[in-house]
Structure formats: structure tokens, C-alpha cells
């Protein structure tokens, strides 16, 4: 069976819409991945030497379990979205002071009514405000999970996992960076490549900056290694350059 002529190569006169489709398709070209992608991915894939083990057991029952976590996750995400909006909208002044990624957005009033009317959700919650710790205790030992880029795994997230990151945000906002750090550590330990891993690493940097225990540069370095063009890269660079003593 002969393949049909590709629309982008079709020279017959169609109607205006058909010509428009051809124009749109011609604007896109076949992908030629840059050489550096190939080299970087090769390095990441082949430098990992974890043993090749059967994951049949882990996969068993996957389909059967698919719908329940999805429904639970949808509910948790809907609630979490409101929490995120409320957090973001609650202190525009301090975020404005730390904004690193472009022109300032108009301030958002913090009243509950206004928060509900914020739509859509701000596209880049670019900064996590560092709040000085009010605790008088010595900082607790901060166990940092090191997750190698080459060994990241694809895992499923539960609502509890998402709650860890949101809890960390709230703890940070409430002035408890030690607890915030512990929560995101727990998240990254469970899901080093999870859906909110980037946010978790961003919160970890901010929590470390707030704790001022000297761990911020290392965490910032980890963030940049995982997400060199991530939404918190500016914050991480700041923490790295400031040596974590901001």
C-alpha cells in the first residue's frame, strides 16, 4: 500500500484551511537532537551500575491499583492547589523583594475573597520566602538524601507524598525550616524523580538558607545539577553564591 502524500508536500490546491494546515506543518521540521544531548544522556545512563533486577513483582497489580490513587490524587491536588494559591498570595511584599526572574507582577491582595478570585494560578511561584527560624534550639542534624542523576527512578506518587511538599511549604512559612527540610528530605527519599521533586529541592534550598546551617550551597548545587534550567534556579544560584548565609 502506497503512503499518502504528506500534507506539507502536497502541491494540489486545496481550500484555504487545507493550505493553512500545510503552512503550519511546514513550520515544524523533523527533529535533529543536538549532539550534546546524546553525550549527556549516554553518560547518565551508562555510568549507573545498579544491578539489573526483575521488577515483575513490583509491577504486579499495577493496573488494578491505577484508578484509586488517581482519584485520591485528584482530590488532594485540588485541595493542595488552593493551599498553594493561599500561600503564594499571602505575602506578596516579601516575594517581590526576592523576585529574580523578570518584571514584577501586580501585587495580590491577601484577603480570602481575593485569593479565591485569583485565576489562573500564578504561572511561576518563583520564590520561596526565607523566614528566619524562631527556634532557639540548635539546628537538628539535617539528613540530606543524595540522589544521583543517573539512578533516578520513575515512581508513583500518593496524596501523602504531595502532602509532604505542601507541608514543607507551610512549615517554611510558619518559621520552622528544620521541619520543612525534614519533610522535603522524606519526599525526595521516597520519590527522587517524583512529580514535585523540583519543588521539593527548591524548598530544601530555602529551608537550608533559613536554617543558616551551612548546608544551603550543597543543596543548591544538587538543585542545579538536577534542574539547571528549573524555575528555582535563580534562587539556588543566589544561595550558592551567598554561601547559604543570606
Amino acid at each position: 500500500v502506497k503512503d499518502p502524500t504528506r500534507l506539507r508536500e502536497d502541491t494540489t490546491d486545496g481550500d484555504a484551511a487545507a493550505q493553512e494546515v500545510a503552512r503550519l506543518l511546514r513550520a515544524e521540521t523533523a527533529l535533529v537532537p543536538p549532539r550534546e544531548w546524546r553525550e549527556r544522556v549516554r553518560e547518565a545512563v551508562f555510568r549507573s551500575v545498579e544491578p539489573l533486577t526483575s521488577r515483575t513483582g513490583a509491577r504486579r497489580g499495577r493496573l488494578r491499583r491505577l484508578w484509586i490513587p488517581m482519584l485520591a490524587l485528584a482530590g488532594a491536588a485540588a485541595g493542595a492547589s488552593m493551599t498553594g494559591v493561599a500561600w503564594w498570595a499571602s505575602s506578596p511584599a516579601s516575594r517581590e523583594a526576592h523576585r529574580v526572574d523578570g518584571p514584577a507582577a501586580p501585587p495580590v491582595a491577601a484577603s480570602p475573597a481575593r485569593v479565591e478570585s485569583v485565576a489562573p494560578v500564578p504561572s511561576v511561584p518563583s520564590v520561596l520566602e526565607p523566614i528566619p527560624s524562631t527556634s532557639t534550639d540548635a539546628p537538628a542534624p539535617h539528613a540530606t538524601a543524595v540522589h544521583h542523576w543517573g539512578t533516578k527512578r520513575v515512581a508513583k506518587e500518593t496524596p501523602e507524598d504531595a502532602a509532604l511538599v505542601l507541608g514543607a511549604l507551610e512549615a517554611l512559612r510558619a518559621g520552622d525550616p528544620v521541619h520543612a527540610g525534614a519533610l522535603v528530605d522524606e519526599y525526595l527519599h521516597r520519590l527522587p524523580a517524583g512529580p514535585l521533586a523540583e519543588e521539593a529541592r527548591g524548598v530544601a534550598v530555602d529551608a537550608a538558607v533559613a536554617r543558616a546551617d551551612g548546608s544551603a550551597p550543597q543543596l543548591a548545587r544538587q538543585y542545579l545539577e538536577h534542574h539547571p534550567r528549573g524555575r528555582f534556579a535563580g534562587r539556588a544560584l543566589d544561595a550558592l553564591n551567598a554561601g547559604g548565609t543570606r
Binding site: D3, L24, E28, L31, V41, A77, G84, E199
Partner: protein, 192 residues
Amino acid sequence: MDLVATAFPDRSSERPGMEMTSGREELAVVYERHFDDVCRWLRAMGGPERELEDLAQETFLVARRKYDRFDGRNVAGWLYRIAWRVMADARRRVWLRRMVFGGEALAEIVDERPGESVESFEARRTLRLLLARMNVERRTTLVLFEIEGYSTEEIAALQGIQVATVSTRLLRARRELLEMTRALRAKTGERP
């Protein structure tokens, strides 16, 4: 090749169907042969260009994990199925992140290319938005055929389906794209 040798012990004797010459280099050969293809498939499935490198990495990491259970037949089809699942996970990640923290939908992520004209950028953006409204299987088939230049036979082998099914998907995808373009033109009264 030391890294490859450590990560992939020689299993050539267990894979009589594998056409590669040396077991320990099998996946390295697969990688070199199919890396560009995997990136193309991922983009056709809706992956934004800025994420393709990470998605390709994830695909090959999964391939590495599953290597010992791979029967050696239809390497491209095997990788394609892995890429498909990786992309499904990525869609879910983006959705969750968007719900919790806000941000762009997958279809809205279009990066300007160096030296690209505004017109070309806008056309690519419009195309991406239109394609995002399509069924994923149809959209992928359409992009693989129309943009990446795969034949219907190649697509059928990748997707593990009949050539006739590919043709049907392609026909419907074209029709759908045409209808969406017409609707958009009617709405805007000019070019989409």
C-alpha cells in the same frame, strides 16, 4: 566501553534472536542507533523540546532496567512502548505540578529557536496547541508521518499495529486537524 561492560553483563547466549554481535554492548548499540528516534517519538507524543533530553534519559534508564527481560525482537517497538509510558508519566507530572503550583500546560510549552521568525514561531505554537486537542495516538501518528517523515509501515511496526490502522488514524487525524483549523479561522477571521 568499561562503563557499559560493568552495567550490562554479557547475555548474548541468552538471546539467540538478538542481532547484535556482543551481548555486553547490546544496549550501547541500541542507544547509539535509536537515541535520535527516541527523541523524535517523544516529541511526537507531545513532549516539549526543552524536556526531551530528560525524557530520553528516563526512557533509556527504564530500558536498562528492563533489559534482562527483553526478548530481543523489534528493538524499536520495545523502546517505543517504554517512551510511551515515560511520556504518560510526564503528562501526569505536569498536570499535578500545574494543579499544585501553577505553570504551563504541556501544550503551551514552546520555545523560540535561535534566529526564528515570529511567523514561524507562531505557526509552530498554533500547530502544537491544535495537536494537543487531539487524541494522543492520532496526534503521535500524524506527527511521525507528517513531520518526522516515518512511513506508515514504520509507524505500524513501532506501535505494534496493522498498517491499515495507522492509515485510519492518519486519515482521522488529518480530518480533525483540518476541521480545527477551519473552526479557528472562522473564529479569528484570519490566519490562526
